[in-house]
């Protein structure tokens, strides 16, 4: 269970991107964070991933406060999380397979085995021929699928997805939503943030949380 307690994030005095957000997310829940630009969705996801420190408040994972964890323990927390954030695209100078295999490699999985796992995923998604290409040689849809594989490769228990279909064509976007639904059905807790409406999500058992200027203004359970 994730408990977000009175979370405030203000990088400068007078500029509050999050202003007292409190949420409790059950294990296995699928939460859809909605809101316009600068609503604070992305920042909330990054604080939950322990990539940003809140100005005030805490994030609890069961009985453990992420803000009180020693710095050396935080990487182990992140290894349980799958992330798809726009600021971490595929590495431009490396073949796609290298970037996608990273979550396993940083955990100590031998390179050969990590690559084999990536190839397995790529085969399933029809990306087998793209594994050795460089990111600029992929289409937007292929890149987004590759990023999805990187997010789920290490079987995380929590998925934090920020605009997961950005840059993908309509068909691939739908495919990605189905993949996310499948990951959720397999037991992962999912937090997904989008700026616009996603009709597919209205048909899913999704909890809708709407943020406006860093505050939760709507919280609708399925």
């Amino acid at each position: 269970m994730i408990r977000v307690q009175d979370l405030t994030y203000a990088p400068q005095p007078g500029l509050a991107i999050l202003a007292g957000v409190t949420l409790t997310i059950a294990r296995g829940e699928w939460v859809w964070l909605r809101g316009a630009r600068h609503a604070g969705k992305s920042v909330l996801l990054r604080i939950i991933a322990a990539l940003l420190r809140p100005t005030q408040g805490e994030v609890w994972w069961d009985d453990v406060s992420l803000q009180r964890l020693p710095a050396r323990a935080l990487p182990y927390w992140r290894r349980r999380v799958g992330m798809l954030f726009a600021e971490w695209p595929l590495i431009a100078d490396q073949p796609v397979i290298e970037s996608v295999a990273l979550p396993l490699i940083v955990q100590g999985t031998p390179r050969r085995r990590a690559h084999a796992r990536v190839r397995q995923w790529f085969d399933e998604l029809g990306l087998a021929e793209q594994a050795e290409l460089f990111p600029h040689e992929l289409s937007g849809s292929e890149r987004q699928l590759a990023l999805w594989v990187r997010a789920v490769l290490h079987a995380p228990i929590l998925l934090l997805l920020d605009e997961p279909t950005a840059g993908a064509c309509t068909e691939t976007a739908m495919r990605l939503w189905r993949l996310i639904a499948a990951a959720h059905a397999a037991g992962a807790t999912v937090l997904v943030a989008t700026g616009g409406d996603v009709p597919f999500l209205h048909e899913q058992p999704v909890r809708r949380v709407t943020l406006v200027r860093g505050r939760v203004v709507e919280d609708v359970h399925p």
Partner: protein, 298 residues
């Protein structure tokens, strides 16, 4: 050959060339800094006079060196006082002082430049029976004259251009490596990397090591030149060398190089600059070439 194997081999080659370039850069930087320091020294000593006395080393040491310590086959000596030099050379009104004594060679540097006084002093020295040879260390003059020949001017201009391009390429390369390292590090951190071994990919660690090695190499080469050159170049200076480390190196590698051949010096310096420019140029070229090769194989 499969695409993967080609990529792996070309990747290894790229890294090898890059690392070689970085280390070569360190060595070259050391040479450059050392050359600069010797060039500055040459400006100060531009009208130095080398006197080779017709004495054996022991006799010369006893005659000229007031306090000396044995360091292998070489002896370093303290500066002689003006009075010692005047007494020694029997040049009562000379404005000459001794800078360094390395038996049987005495290097003399005029304290104040006066062409007539120096010419008289040198003339007097040449007439002495105990003086075997008097050599002007006319480095600066030789270089100045070399600048006035179009060939040398061209060679030196090209050398400067190559050096400039080389530094620009190297700067770009280092910036690229730093950016790639920072990106990879941030991504690995976000994906759960903690210690340096999980934060920095192997090749980036090798890169950092190579940069440190290059820095160490630069310091080492500079220190080595500082240690070697005063002794060697002074000794060789008696036989026509001007103390330029590049020429000293050329002498050690390929034998004697005439001191009066300005064109030879320019060519040698140009060749050295080109050789030093080659590894980083290869690196800069290798990156797009590698991408082209892989694309053409696809």
């Amino acid at each position: 050959m499969t695409l993967r194997r080609t990529r792996r081999i070309s990747g290894l080659l790229w890294h090898a060339v890059t690392l070689g370039g970085v280390v070569a850069w360190g060595v070259w930087l050391g040479v450059l800094v050392a050359s600069l320091s010797f060039w500055l020294q040459a400006q100060r000593d531009q009208f130095a006079v080398m006197v080779v006395f017709a004495l054996d080393a022991d006799a010369a040491a006893q005659t000229f060196v007031r306090t000396a310590s044995e360091t292998g086959q070489w002896q370093r000596a303290e500066r002689l006082s003006d009075e010692d030099v005047r007494a020694l050379l029997r040049l009562e009104d000379s404005e000459i002082t001794a800078a360094l004594v390395l038996p049987p060679v005495v290097r003399l540097v005029p304290r104040q430049w006066d062409a007539d006084a120096l010419a008289d002093a040198v003339g007097a020295l040449r007439e002495r029976p105990d003086v075997r040879q008097v050599v002007y260390d006319a480095t600066w003059l030789a270089r100045w004259q070399a600048w006035h020949t179009w060939g040398a001017r061209l060679a030196q201009g090209l050398g400067a251009l190559v050096a400039l391009l080389w530094f620009a390429a190297l700067g770009a390369l280092i910036a690229h490596a730093a950016r790639a390292t920072a990106e990879a590090c941030a991504l690995r951190f976000a994906l759960g990397g903690g210690r340096i071994t999980t934060l920095l990919p192997l090749w980036h660690r090798v890169w950092l090591g190579a940069l440190l090695a290059a820095g160490a190499a630069a310091l080492f080469v500079f220190a080595a030149y500082q240690w070697v050159s005063p002794a060697w170049s002074t000794w060789l200076g008696a036989y026509g060398f001007d103390g330029d480390p590049l020429r000293l190196l050329a002498h050690r590698l390929w034998g004697a190089v005439p001191a009066d051949s300005a064109a030879r010096v320019a060519v040698l310096s140009g060749a050295a600059a080109l050789l030093a420019a080659l590894p980083p140029a290869l690196v800069v070229l290798a990156y797009p070439l590698r991408a082209l090769l892989l694309r053409s194989l696809r």
